[in-house]
Structures are given as C-alpha cells and as structure tokens.
C-alpha cells in the first residue's frame, strides 16, 4: 500500500513526563487529547508548558479536551534516523496544525508518497507505548482505517 514505514513494530523511546505535562500524558492512557487553553488570551498552546505563552502566568491556563483533527502544516521525509528508528526509513515527520490553532510534531502513518501535501486533512491515531500511555500520531482523514 505504501513505501513509507508506519513505525508500528517499533519500541519507541518513552517520552519523559514533567510535573506540568502529566495531565496530557495521563489522558493519553484513555486515548484522549488534552491541550492547554489560556482563558485570558482565549487561545490554545502546544507543547504543554509550565506557564502560559500568552500571559506568563500558570493561573490563566486550563486543560481542554480536543478532537485531534487538523491539517498538514509542513512535512519532511526522514531518510536517516538513529536507533531504534534506524532501518525503518523512510517515514513521515510532519507538523500538524490542529483545528484549535496549534502545531504538533508527529509521524503520519498510512500515507503514500503521492498522498502527502501541505494542507491535507489528518485525524489522530493513538500508538500504544510500553507503559500504557499512547503517542499521538496522525493518518490521512480520507482513506485511512479506523483509529487504533
């Protein structure tokens, strides 16, 4: 179907978890996507930070659940990688603009070479991590299989 690796059989490095990002990672156990939202700026931010990028205050932030749908902002093909990704090239690395107006870096799976383009709509795909958390990946909104 595709000459691109979906990286499904890969023991990925576990993301560290910081005190202020724990709600994000906890939600991924249930395949739910939480983003930080600033009530004053009325805007989302990503990646999770210890403070609002808008106000400089943690007190104006709250967590909100979002769908994870978005579109491709930019992409590159990883043709060289370090272990454990080495030998699994090529694979997609992309920045995805979620509909909430933040960019998330991720892998796009189930996507053929001719299919990828900036602006393409994508849906979330939760890849299991070995510790019960999930990693947010994306697949094309059209033509992909149901979310794992």
């Amino acid at each position: 179907m595709t000459d691109f690796n979906d990286l499904t059989d890969l023991d990925r490095p576990l993301p560290v978890e910081r005190s202020f990002s724990r709600p994000f990672w906890d939600a991924t156990r249930e395949r739910r996507l939480l983003l930080q939202y600033d009530r004053v700026a009325q805007a989302f931010q990503f990646y999770p930070r210890p403070t609002s990028i808008y106000t400089g205050r943690a007190s104006t932030l709250e967590w909100r659940e979002v769908s994870g749908e978005g579109s491709i902002f930019s992409y590159t093909i990883a043709r060289r990688a370090r272990p454990p990704f080495r030998g699994h090239e090529p694979f997609w690395l992309a920045l995805v603009t979620l509909d909430e107006g933040v960019n998330v870096m991720s892998n796009v799976i189930q996507c053929a070479a001719g299919q990828m383009q900036i602006g393409m709509r994508v849906r979330p795909h939760w890849a299991p991590l070995s510790d019960g958390r999930h990693l947010l990946l994306f697949r094309p909104a059209e033509g992909g299989s149901p979310s794992g």
Binding site: F73, S74, T76, A78, L93
Partner: protein, 390 residues
C-alpha cells in the same frame, strides 16, 4: 555607546579537523598563545574570559572556571555564553559591556569545541518529551520541515541554493584552516544530486560536524590606542533576539529573529544592507543563508532565490559571502562554529585575507543562529557589524 568603545585587537584560529587528537584545553592554549603573540599582551594582562558553550564541556557546571584553571588565567570576570551559534558574537557584545562597566580591561573570547572527539552534553530540552519518540534527529529534520514550508509558500530555486554552496566551497579551497576533506571543488549539479537526508534537505546543504577552536582578544578602544596598536576592529552595531515570537502558538518558520536583531544592529551602526562590504552569516544549512539575506533586508521576504541569482558572492564580487568557506565548507567546530565566520570577518578587516582578501574592507556583517526550538526556526538570532579602526 559602549559597543563602539570596544576593540578587537587580535584573532586566532586552529585548523578545523573531522576529529581532534588534541584536547579542548590544548586547543584553547593554542588560541591563547596566538593571541598573546599577535596582541603583544602578557598572559597576566588578560583579566576577562568569555567562552562559547561547548558540547565537550557542557556537562561541567563550572566550565569557565575550569578552563581558566587549565589555562592558568587569573581573572576579574568570566562566564560561558550559551546561546548556541550566536555565542561567539554574544561573547564580543558581553566583553564590550564588561569592559564598559569596568569589570575587565582585556577579555579573551575563546570558542573551542571538540564535540566529535568528546561530547559530554546532556541537554535538557523539549526533545526527550516531544520529538525523540518520533524519530526526529534534530536540525536536519527541522530544516526539512522549514524548507518544505518555504517551497510551498514562495518560489524556491534549488539551483540558487547550489550557487551559494559552490561559492562557499571555492572560498574554502583558498582557506588553509578549513577542513581538508571539504577543500574540493563542487558544481551546482553535485549539489543538486547529493544525497537527500530530510526532504528536501541534501547532504551538501548541511554542515559537517568537526572539531576546532578560534578566539579574539577584546580591549577598550582607548586602551588599544594607548598601547600603540595600529590595527583593530570595532563592533559598531549588535542585535540579539532569543525566542522570536514566543507568545504565538503558530509562527511562520521562514521569519526569524534576524528581522529584529538586524534592525537594531543596522540602526546602531548607522548603516543599511546596501552599505555592507562583506557578509559572514552563520551557516548550518544553505537555506539559512538565504533566509538571513531576506530577514536582514538585503532583499524582500520570499525573494531570496532571485537575489542570489543576481548577486556575485565571490570574495571579489558584489557581496562577498563567508570568504573562509563558511561552516558548510570549512567544517562546523561544534558549538564553537560561530567563531569561524566571525574570525574570518575580523581577518578580512585586518587585511589578512591573502588569496581571498576582499577589496572593500569598510565593514563586515556577521550573524549567529543558535538552537532549534519546537517546530519553529531557531532559538536565537544575532547580528553584528564590525569596522576597522586603525
């Protein structure tokens, strides 16, 4: 303005090599000796030390003190500047400020890294949480994403980027201190056909990690005159911006902090891009040179390709570019790499360019790029204009 009162009175550089067989402190000692020879200073007259951060020493929280100890320098002022490739420029700015404040009178700015031979860095960054689990390898991937975005938004002529690669390579061939492995001519076709690493970033877009060192001795301008030094180089404009557009969730990655840092630098120097006699930009990837031409105002945003096609960047051309070869063709000496382009600019203004000497030595513009943030362009942008003052 304090900056104008500083004087770079000597420069030094080691050969850039793929892997150093000499310890980082031995490279530092080599730089120190060259600077003492060229400035007429005694070791005891150096009372300030400013280091660029180094991957070799990054595990050491006492890096500037430990280096002062290794080099046996007794100091009134020392620090490490940790803004990545902007650090060498930042060190000159901080040396000027320290001299102006009376903290020190003669400051050794030392840029050394042997990251290939010995890296002790354990960086704490967003990477361990947000990019490493994705197979992201850092700068080549970041520049892949950035270049693809640029291609979509503007016309990007890859032959124009190839022209920059070829020009810098021709300059490296004239530079005895450039990494020997890179001192071979290339053509635009070689550039276009080089192996793709992170589409559309090619091998010949990218720096080769190397080991090496460089350095400057900075004093007050009046102190230099009092010593009867007939040659010096004066920083007349500086701008530095870290975390450009930090308060925006979405940014255009083709816009960089050089727009802000450059404006401040030009305003302080009282010059415009048209006045620039030679340009020595930080180059970790070829497209970064083009983006800086745009952000610094040499041409409008998005029109870098056309500007490159119309401009001769050879050392005898319209806008002499990285006349030592830049890092891409001289080799990137780890986090000290920003010193390569800076020291080349100083060398040119001293008239020591040899076979690659530029004819117009009224000034030189040097830039820095430091760090790669999450999904954006780069963490720090810096620009400095230097002028000779005999």
């Amino acid at each position: 303005m304090a900056l104008h009162d500083a004087a770079i009175i000597a420069y030094a550089e080691t050969k850039i090599v793929p892997v150093s067989d000499r310890d980082i402190w031995q490279l530092g000692a080599d730089i120190l000796e060259q600077l003492l020879d060229r400035s007429g200073h005694e070791k005891g007259e150096i009372d300030g030390l400013i280091l660029s951060a180094s991957l070799t020493g990054a595990g050491n929280p006492f890096w500037s003190q430990a280096t002062a100890d290794a080099l046996s320098l007794e100091l009134d002022f020392c620090q490490t500047v940790d803004i990545g490739g902007c650090s060498p420029l930042g060190a000159v700015a901080r040396a000027s400020a320290a001299i102006d404040a009376g903290f020190a009178t003669s400051v050794l700015c030392l840029y050394a890294d042997t990251a290939v031979a010995e890296a002790t860095a354990r960086a704490r960054s967003f990477g361990q949480e947000w990019t490493t689990p994705l197979g992201y390898i850092g700068p080549p991937a970041a520049f892949g994403l950035l270049t693809r975005y640029y291609e979509e938004k503007f016309a990007l002529d890859h032959r124009a980027l190839g022209k920059l690669a070829v020009t810098q390579r021709e300059h490296a061939i004239l530079n005895d201190l450039a990494c020997e492995k890179l001192r071979k001519p290339i053509t635009i076709e070689d550039y276009l056909q080089s192996r793709v690493i992170n589409d559309p970033v090619r091998l010949l877009d990218s720096v080769m990690p190397c080991d090496g060192a460089s350095g400057l001795l900075v004093t007050g301008r009046r102190a230099a005159e009092k010593r009867g030094l007939t040659r010096c180089v004066v920083p007349v404009g500086y701008g530095e911006r870290t975390n450009y557009q930090a308060s925006r969730a979405l940014v255009d990655p083709t816009e960089t902090g050089h727009s802000v840092a450059g404006d401040r630098c030009f305003a302080q120097a009282g010059l415009t891009p048209r006045d620039i006699a030679s340009f020595h930009p930080y180059d970790d990837f070829i497209i970064a040179i083009m983006m800086q031409l745009e952000m610094l105002g040499f041409c409008p945003h998005g029109q870098g390709s056309a500007f490159i096609r119309e401009t001769d960047f050879g050392f005898a051309g319209d806008v002499p570019l990285n006349t030592g070869g830049g890092q891409i063709s001289a080799g990137q000496a780890g986090l000290a790499g920003g010193g390569t382009n800076l020291v080349e600019a100083v060398r040119q203004l001293f008239g020591d360019g040899g076979a690659r000497q530029v004819t117009n030595t009224r000034n030189a513009l040097v830039t820095g790029i430091g760090g790669i943030p999450y999904g954006r362009n780069w963490n720090s942008s810096a620009a400095m204009i230097l002028t000779p003052d005999a």
